[in-house]
Symmetry: C2
Subunit: 261 residues, 2 copies
């Protein structure tokens, strides 16, 4: 008897929230799958046919979700795992790879496609100007999966190196103090005037974008749906009268304006 | 006499290359503009109506292109500036902001929209697994606009801090040695087994994705259309028999596996 058909798993990035930011490739991948695994709010964004099946799970269950999806795909089914933003940035693509590496041999035979999307920091940046216009980094502030000391080391390296910093997973009920600590740490390296952007739900109807100097920042302005972007010492603000101010980081770098560290 | 109508400028990200990765928002912004400014190959991707006008310019002329676009918009016209990938990542959004800041007051009255897109590193990462699955940074390797010493400092900070590194603008005819130097420098900090991904033209028909250990790397594998991703010490490879190997960085971080630095 020959091996079972290996099936297919697509890890799909749905973008920051609005249908206008879902790529045609992602839409086609949704049409093409039968089983949909994902965090409830992401799965709920999908408009599915009666023959398509939603399997929603909780936020913290990435690995068991990836395993369930791979198990289904290994039976020959067409499976989708959906992420907000881009699935490769602090999202399900890495969880699926982890599950494949640790899982049974037949999971390696499943055909895997990753469909990229517009990740949150790009959507937030677009709404305010071009804060990511020069070298930048993305750090997950969650210390569920790495020690807080590693996060502190990376914040220091990024700010000291002159990178703009995008913080994902900045705060949650279970992690209330980390963002404030991160700001305190960055304030030792960066000027108090450094712009901090709180970008909540960028591209969605409930979008809220707030810019505050690092010296006056209040971590309570962030929630789970916020991506926080902290400028470098070279990030600038352009006042525009009646129009909202622009925040951008020039393409050129002048070391004389670099971080104090 | 009242002021002239202020016009509108949209800085549009066309994604990595294929029409399947252009968001509906970007497509709508193209329909909505009359004048199109951009680097020739990006402008040539557009299918325009007879009443829409292409103004192509050379690769290195970002600021004069931004100025020409703002001048046109300030006369009340609807103008688009197109970028490949995301316009906020080493692209035209920052150049337009620079031009606004240095330009005449009426340029601040122009309505500005930035339309985000899938940037190259996300498209490359999607084709190989999830190399950006944990903390990462993006560095432009061009020393046209910043000193080489600044780039070296950032490479050291990023590799020493445990970030995966995406290099944009890795090499060109005018900058032949920089990528090789960068690899040499990173090899002092990262294990020789660290995966390096050369992602050329991801998502396009001429796509080519190559993975090499840092110890065997050859900078000549890159060209201007390549985005290079260098793993961290935690980035892993999953062999899959007949299927291409996956490269991914786990969501969790174990400091014991961190960089040697």
């Amino acid at each position: 008897m020959s091996a079972a058909k290996s099936g297919h798993i697509a890890v799909i990035g749905l973008g920051p929230g609005g249908a206008h930011q879902v790529t045609p490739e992602a839409s086609a991948a949704v049409v093409d799958a039968k089983w949909f695994y994902g965090y409830g709010p992401y799965v709920d964004r999908l408009e599915l046919r009666p023959d398509q099946v939603k399997v929603a799970s909780d936020n913290r269950e990435e690995i068991s979700r990836a395993q369930a999806a791979l198990e289904k795909a290994a039976t020959g089914e067409r499976v989708a795992v959906v992420s907000g933003g881009d699935p490769g940035v602090f999202a399900m693509a890495a969880a699926v790879c982890e599950a494949i590496e640790a899982g049974p041999a037949e999971w390696r035979e499943v055909e895997l496609t990753v469909v990229p999307g517009v990740t949150a920091m790009l959507a937030v940046a677009a709404r305010i100007g071009a804060p990511l216009g020069h070298d930048f980094c993305a750090i997950s502030l969650s210390d569920n999966l790495k020690p807080w000391e590693t996060i502190e080391k990376r914040l220091d390296a990024a700010a000291g190196g002159g990178f703009v910093i995008a913080l994902y997973n900045p705060i949650s009920k279970a992690r209330p103090w980390q963002l404030g600590k991160a700001f305190e740490r960055l304030a030792k390296i960066l000027p108090a005037s450094t712009p901090v952007i709180f970008g909540r739900a960028a591209g969605r109807p409930d979008e809220k974008i707030v810019v505050t100097p690092l010296g006056d920042v209040d971590a309570a302005q962030a929630d789970m749906a916020t991506c926080v972007i902290i400028g470098s010492a070279e990030t600038r603000i352009i006042e525009r009268g009646d129009r909202p101010a622009l925040v951008y980081t020039p393409r050129f770098s002048n070391p004389a304006q670099g971080a104090r560290a």
